[in-house]
């Protein structure tokens, strides 16, 4: 059976390179969002505003899942 993984592993090196780069850029974006969530959660907590910390934690967790999920699309090693 052919799937995304297989098709991608057969891709041209240039395409593999672009894909890898794109995935890394998206991951960095997700982490930037997480940093922002951590920062606002922390500031609101220190301001005795408890409503932000929990939603920020949940959102941060889902961003983490997305970050790991992206690994599936990472092109394979050089054969």
């Amino acid at each position: 059976m052919s799937n995304f993984r297989r098709a991608q592993d057969q891709a041209h090196p240039n395409k593999v390179s672009t894909l890898t780069l794109a995935i890394i850029v998206v991951q960095i974006l997700l982490i930037t969002l997480q940093i922002w969530l951590l920062y606002s959660g922390l500031n609101n907590t220190l301001e005795h505003n408890q409503d932000v910390a929990i939603p920020a934690l949940i959102a941060s967790f889902f961003l983490f899942l997305a970050c790991c999920g992206l690994l599936y699309f990472l092109p394979g090693r050089k054969r």
């Binding site: 090196p13 240039n14 593999v16 390179s17 890898t20 780069l21 995935i23 890394i24 991951q27 960095i28 997700l30 982490i31 997480q34 940093i35 969530l37 951590l38 959660g41 922390l42 500031n43 907590t45 220190l46 301001e47 408890q50 910390a53 929990i54 920020a56 934690l57 941060s60 967790f61 961003l63 983490f64 970050c67 790991c68 992206l70 690994l71 990472l74 090693r77 050089k78």
Partner: protein, 166 residues
């Protein structure tokens, strides 16, 4: 003059390859996995913040504490003080309009000591040029993200008292 011949490209050239096919040998896979680790660290940090927001470790001092006599502090003057059982520095300010205000003497940016700038009604943080309103503690200018935490001040029979933060 003879130039030195390298058996293979020097290290720095292998670290920064010129052609893209060579760049493929640098394992971006590992970099990507490391990003996932950083992401997990962010979740851990957020989790820690969430736990700390609902669970207070050590209690803060509660009750009323005398600081000084009204006559000891002229208008525009300030006095630093500590509350018993806590290491947080506080600053008592006698504003020019006669009011007394007490704030944490710790900038909300990176915890530098803040000072009242007499005559301006503003509190200055010299570290990164942050300014707070001495009347309310609100940020006027600069990098501090939060207002200065204030203590309630009570003036009774010639004596200035503050109420603990708890």
């Amino acid at each position: 003059m003879e130039t030195k011949q390298y058996p293979q490209p020097p290290d720095w050239q292998r670290d920064f390859p010129y052609r893209q096919e060579e760049a493929r040998l640098v394992t971006r896979r590992e970099f990507s996995r490391m990003l996932c680790l950083i992401s997990a660290a962010m979740v851990t940090g957020s989790g820690y913040v969430a736990i700390r927001s609902f669970w207070k470790g050590k209690s803060e001092p509660a009750g009323r504490f005398p600081v000084c006599g009204v006559s000891e502090l002229p208008a525009g003057g300030t006095r630093s003080f500590l509350l018993p059982g806590s290491n947080t520095p506080y600053i008592l300010i006698h504003l020019e309009n006669g009011q007394f205000k007490a704030y944490e003497q710790k900038c909300t940016h990176l915890s530098c000591a803040v000072f009242y700038k007499a005559g301006t009604g503003k509190i200055e943080c010299p570290c990164h040029n942050g300014w707070f309103d001495a009347n309310t503690g609100e940020v006027v200018q600069g990098p501090p993200p939060r207002p200065l935490p204030a203590l309630e001040v009570v003036v009774e029979s010639g004596q200035v008292y503050v109420n603990g933060p708890a």
